[in-house]
């Protein structure tokens, strides 16, 4: 009887934990091979000299993503030379959100002059594996041997609307900590964002 109750309870818990799937800080992150806006395939392993990768799930249509475009460019320009380049990934299904189609990504990357790859997760399997739930959503990875270890998950900073009013630059602080040999603190933050537009089954 007790075993049955435990079994039922764990099934219920498994059912409700759908949202909690994905990586946690300390997990090993999977590499990917996704198509960039220039038509070439990009993987993290294409950066053999990097100390890590700043993976940012972001997209064209989301107002919060748009608010952060300039800040993402600035972060890439500042940290790529220090060993942490940005790789942006569009997680959205373009049937659900036509503004996030591959051809529109090419247009947006050109308009904004992205200095980093902007990849399309066409099958959404990387988005699912990482557990990205909104845009923009940052996963800061540190390279250890051949592995990419998740060191920070969350927001870029604490004021999406107004860069001038930012009090805490979460991502930059996390990067500075990693570069100084420390663990990021906080290593997990939340922010309002747009939902991932999952393909309809």
């Amino acid at each position: 009887m007790r075993a049955t109750i435990i079994l039922i309870m764990s099934l219920v818990l498994a059912g409700t934990s759908n949202f909690a799937q994905g990586y946690k800080v300390g997990d090993k992150a999977a590499d990917f091979r996704l198509k960039n806006v220039d038509g070439k395939m990009v993987s993290m392993s294409d950066y053999p000299d990097a100390k890590g990768i700043i993976v940012i799930f972001t997209c064209n249509h989301c107002p919060y993503s748009k608010l952060y475009e300039d800040r993402i460019i600035a972060i890439n320009n500042k940290y790529a030379v220090k060993g942490y380049p940005v790789i942006a990934i569009n997680p959205n299904d373009s049937i659900r959100q036509p503004e996030d189609s591959y051809s529109k990504m090419i247009v947006r990357a050109k308009e904004k002059g992205f200095t980093f790859p902007y990849l399309l997760d066409a099958g959404q399997s990387i988005t699912r594996a990482y557990g990205a739930s909104r845009t923009p959503h940052v996963f800061l990875l540190q390279k250890e041997g051949k592995d990419y270890i998740v060191r920070y998950i969350g927001a870029i900073d604490d004021n999406s609307k107004d860069p001038a009013a930012v009090k805490e630059k979460y991502l930059e602080n996390a990067l500075d900590n990693l570069l100084a040999g420390r663990k990021p603190d906080p290593d997990f933050t939340k922010a309002i964002g747009c939902t991932i537009k999952w393909a309809e089954k």
């Binding site: 739930s133 927001a155 004021n159 609307k161 939340k190 922010a191 309002i192 964002g193 939902t195």
Partner: protein, 170 residues
């Protein structure tokens, strides 16, 4: 109707015109939207302890799934009108977009429920105070009364909403 006696008209014409101007002004904006810039001021909306069942939906005009589920909330509001029920639509649009986006949306979609706007920075500090399992993506919906609590990240249909509210209403 207004008092249109001669004396009133002569002495108070200016005030009447001013009153009309005010009336036209308030009609042109329709519903007012209360703005919360501080989560502490907003928090009580999620913690009322009385017989009313509150349905609190967090949305934004820019959020496609939010806009898609809005008719279901409107229908729910219509069904439970006059009962111990209150629908609160919490817009996460920026305050600067009230006139350009939020009010036109309310007008266009004929929104009858209370609309408030939460535009508070340092979201990392208050997202968990709404619900610990909330990632920050919208829509979310909180349904509660003093004995019941429900949270959903993602959309809800009218049928789901109706079932939850009907079953738990006081």
């Amino acid at each position: 109707m207004l008092d249109t006696s001669g004396a009133f008209m002569k002495t108070n014409l200016k005030y009447v015109l001013f009153f009309f101007a005010l009336l036209i002004y308030s009609f042109s904006f329709g519903q007012q939207v209360k703005v919360y810039r501080d989560f502490d001021e907003f928090a009580p909306l999620l913690q009322r302890e009385n017989d009313t069942t509150y349905v609190v939906n967090f949305w934004a005009t820019w959020c496609k799934p939010c806009v898609e589920e809005m008719p279901g909330f409107q229908e729910l509001n219509k069904k439970f009108e006059g009962k111990k029920f209150k629908l609160i639509l919490v817009s996460l649009d920026f305050e600067s977009n009230i006139k350009s986006k939020v009010l036109p949306f309310i007008k266009e979609h004929n929104v009858k429920a209370d609309v408030v706007l939460l535009d508070a920075p340092e979201q990392n500090k208050w997202i968990d105070r709404v619900n610990k399992s909330w990632s920050g993506a919208i829509p979310i919906t909180v349904i509660y009364n003093k004995d019941f609590y429900f949270f959903r990240e993602g959309t809800l249909t009218y049928e789901e909403l109706d079932k939850i509210v009907s079953k738990n209403m006081k």
